[in-house]
């Protein structure tokens, strides 16, 4: 039962939302950037 609910949620809700999310702003930033000097994210201190 629980697995069925998770299945429906995953494919009916999470999949379209996730695909859109990934298209607009992928939080995991998968692509190599050959032109970039660095992948370091500098931490700002206020």
């Amino acid at each position: 039962m629980r697995r069925g609910i998770l299945f429906l949620f995953y494919f009916l809700v999470l999949t379209p939302v996730g695909l859109l999310y990934r298209m607009l702003q992928d939080p995991l930033r998968r692509e190599f950037r050959p032109d970039a000097q660095s992948y370091l994210i500098r931490v700002r201190h206020h």
């Binding site: 629980r2 697995r3 998770l6 299945f7 995953y10 494919f11 999470l14 999949t15 939302v17 996730g18 695909l19 999310y21 990934r22 992928d26 939080p27 995991l28 930033r29 998968r30 692509e31 190599f32 950037r33 050959p34 970039a36 000097q37 660095s38 992948y39 370091l40 994210i41 500098r42 931490v43 201190h45």
Partner: protein, 612 residues
Amino acid sequence: MPHLALGISSYYHDSAAALVEDGKVIAAAQEERFSRRRHDPSFPAQAVKYCLQESGAKLGDVSTVAYYENPRLKFRRVLATFATAVPYGFAAFSEALPDWLSWKRRADDKVRQELAGLGLGPVPALSCHRHHESHAASAFFPSPYDSAAVLCVDGVGEWATTTLWHGRDRKLRQLAEIRFPHSLGLLYSAFTYFCGFKVDSGEYKLMGLAPYGKPRFADVIRKELIDIKPDGSFRLNMRYFAYLHGQVMTGRRFEELFHGPRRGPEGPLTEREFDLAASIQQVTEEVVGRLARTVRRLTGERRLCLAGGVALNCVANGKLAEEKVFDEIWVQPAAGDAGGALGAALSAAMGHGASRAHLGSGHDGMSGARLGPEYEDEEIRGYLDAKELRYSRPEPDALVQEVVAALDGGKVVGWFQGRMEFGPRALGNRSILGDPRDPDMQTKMNLKIKFRESFRPFAPSVLASDARDYFRLTQDSPYMLLVADIEHSKQVASSPSAAQTTGLDLLRIQRSVLPAVTHVDMSARVQTVAEEDNPAYHRLLSAFKERTGCPVLVNTSFNVRGEPIVNTPADAVTCFMRTDIDMLAIGGFLLRKEEQPAWHENGDWRTEIPLD
């Protein structure tokens, strides 16, 4: 009232607890040593009880409980991963999400409940510290430096997988980071998995395998799997990895890249695994070296502190030390997640104005990592008598002389003295010792005592004052976290045919005057022992040197494969009786195997301990 901070790491792997009093580390231990379940991820109830008992405090006396990561932030990362891994991650999603929804996202609440359940008094306020903040604190605050650069590299905590810090006095300032899914720790774990070893456990086996191979895949790794920038920052090509949407590390593309499926657990080791190990080791060293240069440039510091699981890669650490990127490096002995408990406690303590009292003493604040339980002789005697074992109790000097004579005679000795070590290494208090000059010692210890793979090397303990005569060290290595080459004068010229030898056949070649601790690439994972680090162990090494002229012993952890290092006298005696260890020196008592009655156990212990 002193300020007491209780640090806790739990629910992933290597759960631990640590207690810090006004900035001084009082006690620290991993839960696995009590539960006897290797890498135990459960709440460290017994480790917490031990830490409180050691200080004589009750839970109500503790000023703050510090948890080693931020579960809510971690949950956001897990959700983002599930969301953007669609539509391929249903299996992982359906397996993991219920736990995250029911309790993992509020792991700190569960810690409070577990603490209350111990019945040790009211639960103090609890603070969550980010995973890498805990690592950085464990690296810098107990270090002997008043200021230093700090580099933390691991698999993943919340988002960060690599962080660069600047530590000064009682403050840590984060400078930069690399975020999930780009992770050097996970890259190394992917190769660990692909070579048939267990993730979060077998990484050190892969490191030990590397010298048998040639780094012929290193260029492929650099071209296809990881883009490394000149400052050491990197990204992984996620097309090759399966950990975003599966419960495994690598998939079909990885297999295609390396010409075949992954090696099965306990399957035969081939040239491919040797070369994969050598290749990923080379890439790891390259990344760590570049990151170290970057953090040096950003901070201007001459000293470096290291933590995170990748900091347990003592070969990479040894290269850093050898290349003199920094004048000196200091590695937290519990660099993995267990050390997060200590880091969180130290971070909380420093936030409350605690001092770093060890500064100026010339030593670090880890007490030689001897932070675990100790057992009195009367307690040990009680156990030996209950088991009707035969023992003697010589004077302390006579005990040392008897042990040294046994070692010189080729015997293997269990050495159980003082407080248990914190971290994955046995440093001379829960150790199995042997004579490093004996060419058969490595095979004997691997196959008859540890019951582990024959390729795995053993480490030497050496008197700090003699270390440079035997090993090309650029600094002391008290926690066995630096690898160094054997000194030229101690190397043995090999025959011309030896140059043609490959793979595990390399084991049969004698390379130095210390064959039992010389790896196939002429390196050794050295522990330097100074008197102030560990007086009892220093005395033993000195006596061995007096008798034999050799200031070195083989030192391996007191356990068998798959088992946590022994904690109690009962654990030690059980391990002694199960294996071919010849003699046990436990507290003031000496046991000889040939004098003991037959040892009976219900069932076959070898099938009860899962292989690591």
